[in-house]
Amino acid sequence: MSKLKLVDVNKYYGEGISRVHVLKDVSFSAKAGELNLILGPSGSGKSTFLTIAGGLQTPTSGKVLIDGIDIEKLSSKKRDELRLQKIGFILQSYNLLPYLNVADQFKLVDRIKKNGNVSSEAFDELLEKLAIKKLLKQYPSELSGGQNQRVAIARALYTNPEIILADEPTAALDSNLVKTVGQLFQDLAKKEGKAVIAVTHDLRLREYADNVYELADGKLTLSKNSPDQ
């Protein structure tokens, strides 16, 4: 069964003449245990796709199902709850709160989601893997772009979400770190059975993906299938 499903999603922005059709009849399904990559040029609607998939905004038409539940039918409170419990968002920008140091970014999560977060050993390992262990006392303004991005990845994974939605997670990373993150995402899918969806124009992530889609002109097409499908 698919963890996350989009059915005939259309998204328009604006009104009248300035109305733009950003997503055109997009259908998509992500299974647990798979890493899905959505490639597309800038402005093709990748962020739009991801925010709709994560329930941050509603499609103009079509449905978004998470574990078979139509999220539009949920109250906004329930949707918050769903995001908190099941979804790890790695946003394209502004992921960290400027007034919390790195350690406190995670403490904040602990205060709101008290159970089911990653164990302290797993957390340690995650920090190690992303090479951000030494940054715990730093504030976001004291981090480089790539360090920020890696903390944001750790922050999203901290709640141990079933679905990971990542928007350009490797934009600011060098080749070595791209490998690390690609491997990390693959492990999350394969070893921990998570549904990982990353949108990017970074072709270096291709090799880790089970499925690769292309988003162009608002249309989503499958370009590479996992061999076992």
Partner: protein
Amino acid sequence: MFLALKEMKHEKLHYGLIVAMIVLISYLMFFLMGMMLGLQNENDAAIKEWGTETVFLNKNSNDNLGQSIITRDQLSGKGQKNVALVGQAPVVLKEKGASKESAQFIGLDPDQFISREKIKITSGRQAKGNNEIVVDKSLSKKGYHLGDRVTINSQNEKYKIVGFVNDAKFSVAPVIYGSLPVWRELRGLNSSAVASGLFSDNKLSKNTYPDLQHYTVNEYINKLPGYSAQNNTFTFMIGFLMVISLIVIAVFLYILTMQKISHYAVMRAQGIPARHLIIATVTQSIFLMVCGVIGGILLTLITSVAIPMSVPVIMNWPLISLMAVGLIVLGMIGSLLPVRMIIKIDPVQALN
């Protein structure tokens, strides 16, 4: 609490400025309140000391004790149970080696309740006969001492100060307690004039003296010359400061919230409930107000210790606490505007 405190810690300057603002506003409010009470006291301390409940004046006195003369026949032959005859005259006190002082002469009957019960001597003794007087303690700082012989107005007569009393103030002048015959002399009246007014520490009805104008103590005090004008001015200023503090906190929080919309959006995207963010904002607002008000109270405390005695300021701490609570409540109201904004934040809009 976590978010609220961390944020204030990180943005010390911003939040420090708001607190400084509230410190100054609350300090000004407390101080104005102190001045208002101080001036009230200068006007009505003596009347309060007497435990006054009811006042009778001449019907044509235009509510002014100084303009009022009560004659024997106006008492309608009724007794003077529960009342005291009070003769008032504004005077100038003089003594060699001391400064001239304006004062209020209050002539009393030694057998009536004010003389017997209400004049609490702090040093010396009660006055006896016509040539002894008891005066307000403030005069002791102006060079007047126990045993001094002083002149009143341009009389040849000398009067001996035999005692000092606390809180004997009337119409912003120190009170000199003496006898009714002396009062008559000072005002140049004959013996048909019995007093300026009748004061009672009981609640007496209008009908007690039908020929006289009846006042409850509050009616009377509010009609003291300048008294209500003064109070209204202060009350207006304090009320205005309350409104300003509400605006200050609301506007500052509004601006801060505007700047933080993207942060809120991130948190909303991560599934942090709006309720949590609202609690953080309201907590912040209460915290800012509490800090500001505590600062204001501290400044007030320092001032009340440091201020020279001649400035009439009375710090009524229960009242100040009440105002402090009022300010904190205003802070909560001030945070409602940003709370509305937080509820309306659309995470997607904010993230672009």
